[in-house]
Point group: C2
Chain length 155, copies 2
């Protein structure tokens, strides 16, 4: 099956379109998908009720907002049992926008967004290294984000 709930092609088409642009009106989206605006409305309400659609988010240009640096940090823990306490500390750092518990080289994998390299250095040396339980870190600085897009739910 294509998904855990029983979504049909129309549901997926709605999701696919609105993942890129949630501003389109139900009437206009209905025209594109050859159904009425009312049908789009009913489908979206159902998707919201089921928890599949959680809302909409503003899409901004981070560089224009002054955030020039994206970095990925692999974290080695002293013991893997320290995950939860380290995660709690990482959550407090506003520059840390994402945390994953990973297999492979690192125990934890973090994404950091900040304004410039000096701010990144501050986060790495002043903030991260002071968290108890972190043995060492490895930093990948993004020199360029070639692309970032959503999953494609239709072929």
């Amino acid at each position: 099956m294509n998904n855990k709930l029983n979504l049909d092609k129309l549901d997926l088409q709605i999701i696919q379109h609105m993942m890129e642009d949630a501003e389109i009106s139900y009437a206009d989206l209905g025209k594109k998908l050859f159904v009425s605006g009312g049908t789009i409305h009913v489908r979206i309400k159902k998707l919201q009720k089921d928890g599949i659609v959680k809302g909409t988010k503003l899409n901004t240009d981070l560089k224009l907002l002054g955030y020039d640096v994206i970095a990925f940090i692999g974290i080695y823990l002293k013991e893997s049992s320290l995950y939860d306490s380290v995660a709690k500390e990482l959550y407090k750092l506003k520059e840390v926008v994402r945390l994953n518990y990973t297999t492979g080289n690192y125990s934890m994998f973090v994404e950091i967004i900040c304004k410039d390299i000096s701010e990144l250095r501050n986060v790495l040396h002043e903030k991260l290294q002071k968290i108890k339980g972190i043995e060492r870190t490895e930093t990948l600085i993004s020199l360029e984000e070639s692309f970032a897009r959503n999953v494609r739910v239709l072929d």
Copy 2:
């Protein structure tokens, strides 16, 4: 300065709020920020005109949509001059949702979202390894996404 354009506190408050929830009405957001709905409207139009606000996106629950696996792949290139041609091939793979050109261990760093581990195996062994210019890859599988959030543009 806080940013490259001259954004005041109200602009940042609007952005901060709508990055989490873009569905709020101008009137309601105005009430929260102690200005009229008309002012919110004017500010958002200016932010759009300046390219800071690029639109809104549907926020979905990927697990409920059947996408259970997030993986990060570090890619070693045979020569760094192959970046562009490899990037073009990676873009064609729908499972690859993000590509960064990075300093550090790897030349390229990729995020993959797919439905299950067998699909990930297929992407890694059938698709990635066939791209000319890739020497080898290192995979981090996310066992859990502890959090994922936006940058905080206000203190």
